[in-house]
């Protein structure tokens, strides 16, 4: 009898788990056991969990590979598993109606996966799975055969720049730390992904934690550090758990600890849990937080590479940056530099979300256009309405209007139009999104997250928020646009750290490209996207109303009156403008303007 190699991979990233991944995994294990496949082809059938597959909206995604023939299923629930096992594994007839369609292939076509290459393929909780795809080879090679200077040179030549947002050349950072005298130096992996709307780092740690550890080992060796920290958000429990496990396993194998890989080099990693402060993404604030203090930044210089954690030379690298390192060492700087543009080499992971058909995690070569990302990979808007803008870089970034979709995505091009690459959040907005409301959203975020140390940021963001609040509530004054511009200029120029210096970007970019929308709010007291509650009025169109009572039941404030067969009415005095009636009405008889 022919024995097949069967491999079943179930997505168990946060998206997968939320959609019932654990139950699906359990069901597969149970069904396979019951069907006796394990018995007949023992050791050759494996059912295991993998990290994020990218297209979280289709979860639970399941790969079933019989020999090398792989079929991906989407939207799988536990109760669908018996049929897959019966038809696909036993009868060799894949369940065609549950397979992913062409759009799934299109989602992956233009992507180039370096950091995410093994995410979603290997079991993140098994160190052997990482070793089987060449894991820790780069670190072993570097520690045994390379000189530290050679490592630095290789990374410099690859053109890799920090993926946390600022884009500082990684090789140069390591070189600066190497040149700073001192016996004790630290390497910190910044996994405090605080940018709302971004989850690249979470996915990398959940999907392939060993790649980050390996990157840290190589970095530590390059500039002579023996102590590493991973500063990670406590809000990511699954990532923390997998990272802890990975560190423990690496230690067992002698990849961490003293004399690692049988060389004389010592290196170990500790985990520090962030306690929820966006400002701790700033290097000096992060250091203060690891030291156990309030995470407030301090003026630079001295830079952390000279004086950082406990006053010692410290390198802080982002998760994605570190996860790139093993591949660069293994495949050479020339290979890596072959992707991307002249000043922005390699690939970048983005969290593509918002009004998009295929939201998810993508990795693309730098220099790809926004249009390719949104239409070829993302499949266009989910609403079918035209794209209005793309927000990149989160609270430090800006909104790029639809007219600029042919823009290349790299550090320089995005900066030129008033946004940034940032850590990789990319939020697609359609005409139902109000740009003033978006600006207000981000300013509210930075205002809450401002640490309060310097006045321009603490008071400036507060005044920005008050002004935007007023505008979105219909009390905007004619000079408010000038006021916003003045405030923004002041905050940008005078704030102590990156949080304040970039906080006005969402306001400035929307003012630049969507000024008429601000004017509509201020002068005409209208919100063109019909988002700002204070500027909307609701009424029921009598001729369309079927008097079904749905809105009447949904209304939280008792503003709707009516009875069977009598068109309903909204009492404007009682209406709290929540929009509940608008949403429940099946006949589009609720009108808002």
């Amino acid at each position: 009898m022919k024995r097949n190699n069967i491999e079943i991979r179930v997505c168990m990233g946060t998206g997968g788990v939320a959609s019932g991944g654990a139950e699906v995994l359990e069901a597969f294990r149970g069904e396979v056991e019951k069907a006796g496949i394990t018995a007949t082809v023992k050791e050759r059938c494996s059912v295991h969990q993998v990290g994020c597959r990218g297209l979280c909206a289709r979860d639970v995604l399941v790969d079933v590979a019989v020999d090398s023939e792989r079929i991906t299923y989407q939207y799988i629930k536990a109760d669908m598993v018996p049929r897959i096992v019966q038809e696909h594994l036993l009868d060799n007839r894949p369940v065609s109606e549950w397979r992913v369609g062409e759009d799934y292939d299109r989602f992956h076509q233009k992507q180039v996966k370096v950091v995410l290459a093994d995410c979603g393929r290997i079991d993140p909780e098994e160190i052997d799975a990482y070793l089987a795809v060449g894991g820790y080879e780069a670190a072993r090679d570097v520690l045994t055969n390379w000189r530290p200077e050679e490592v630095i040179e290789e990374i410099k030549m690859s053109g890799l720049r920090g993926r946390g947002g600022a884009g500082f050349p990684t090789g140069l950072k390591w070189e600066l730390a190497r040149k700073t005298p001192g016996d004790t130096k630290y390497i910190i992996c910044n996994a405090d992904e605080g940018d709302p709307g971004a989850f690249m780092d979470r996915a990398v740690i959940e999907g392939n934690p060993h790649s980050v550890i390996e990157g840290m080992i190589i970095g530590a060796f390059a500039f002579g550090s023996h102590h590493g920290y991973v500063y990670i958000r406590a809000e990511y429990p699954l990532a923390v758990e997998r990272l802890k496990l990975a560190i423990a396993r690496a230690r067992e194998r002698g990849f961490l600890g003293s004399g690692i890989f049988g060389t004389a080099f010592d290196f170990d990693i500790k985990i520090k849990l962030g306690a929820g402060a966006f400002v701790c993404g700033e290097e000096t604030a992060l250091i203060a937080s690891i030291e156990g203090q309030r995470g407030m930044p301090r003026p630079k210089p001295p830079f952390p590479v000279n004086r950082g954690l406990w006053q010692k030379p410290t390198v802080i690298n982002n998760v994605e940056t570190l996860a790139n390192i093993p591949s660069i060492i293994r495949r050479g700087c020339g290979w890596y530099a072959g992707y991307g543009t002249e000043k922005s080499r390699g690939t970048k992971v983005f969290a593509l979300t918002g009004k998009i058909k295929n939201p998810g995690l993508i990795e693309v070569p730098m220099g790809i256009t926004l249009r390719e990302i949104i239409y070829d990979i993302g499949g266009g808007t989910d609403s079918g309405k035209p794209v209005k803008a793309v927000q990149t870089g989160g609270p430090s970034g800006g909104c790029i209007p639809a007219g600029m979709l042919d823009l290349n995505v790299d550090y320089e091009s995005l900066a030129k139009v008033g946004s940034i690459v940032g850590s990789g959040g990319m939020i697609v907005l359609d005409e139902d999104n109000c740009m003033v409301n978006m600006a207000r959203y981000f300013v509210q975020f930075t205002q809450e997250e401002s640490c309060g140390k310097c006045v321009p940021c603490r008071v400036g963001t507060k005044r920005l928020l008050e002004t935007l609040d007023r505008i979105t509530k219909g009390h905007g004054r004619e000079d408010d646009i000038t006021r916003l511009e003045d405030l923004a200029a002041g905050i940008k120029a005078l704030s102590l750290c990156g949080l304040g210096q970039t906080a006005p970007n969402p306001v400035l970019s929307t003012l630049k490209y969507f000024r008429e929308e601000y004017e509509a709010h201020i002068i005409h007291k209208k919100c063109p996207a019909k988002v700002c509650k204070g500027l909307l009025t609701y009424r029921i169109l009598e001729d369309k109303c079927k008097a079904c009572g749905a809105c009447l039941r949904a209304c939280p404030s008792g503003a709707i009156t009516g009875e069977k067969k009598v068109p309903h009415k909204i009492d404007p005095a009682k209406c709290v403008r929540c929009g509940a009636c608008f949403e429940v009405c099946k006949f589009q008889s609720v009108d808002r303007e």
Binding site: C56, E235, G276, E291, T353, K355, M438, C578
Partner: protein, 157 residues
């Protein structure tokens, strides 16, 4: 309480922890940071209690008040925001009869929290009810979820 606090301080001394990890352990044990705990640490470690409060109020993770029996966490990250997180929040507030800044129901059954981003943007809008992640949430589904928890806890009584 004192036994727990003593153990936390012992662990803190042995592992060379700091104020943040001390408070994290405390919150893990009690669900919030009780005033008595801070006083105990201040006396025991010779650190002014203001330093503890300074750290506890700086970070979003720490709570100085106990939470309700059930915790509903609404993600207000950007992806969730553009997909209508605020509407969800409002309908949950109405369902739980929370007014103004109140975040806990009068009977102590529910706490409603906002969080900046849980990193599950692909399935926005996201609400977490008692650690269960509900993706692609709608007001209807959430109200049902809350009601089912409420009736389950009534039955127990």
């Amino acid at each position: 309480m004192e036994t727990t606090l003593r153990a936390i301080v012992k662990n803190h001394r042995e592992s060379g922890g700091n104020i943040i990890s001390l408070l994290q352990d405390t919150q893990e044990a009690f669900g919030y940071i009780p005033r008595e705990a801070v006083q105990y640490f201040a006396d025991e470690l010779g650190i002014a209690s203001s330093r503890f409060y300074g750290v506890a109020t700086f970070y979003a993770q720490f709570r100085l008040k106990p939470r309700g029996k059930h915790v509903v966490t609404a993600c207000c990250g950007t992806a969730c925001h553009v997909k209508g997180a605020e509407r969800l929040l409002n309908s949950m507030k109405l369902e739980l009869k929370l007014e103004g800044d109140a975040d806990m129901t009068a009977d102590g059954q529910f706490t409603l929290e906002k969080v900046n981003c849980v990193g599950a943007c692909g399935i926005a809008p996201v609400v977490i009810v008692d650690k269960k992640v509900l993706g692609k949430s709608t007001a209807d589904k959430l109200v049902k979820e809350i009601r089912s928890i409420r009736s389950a806890s009534h039955e127990k009584k």
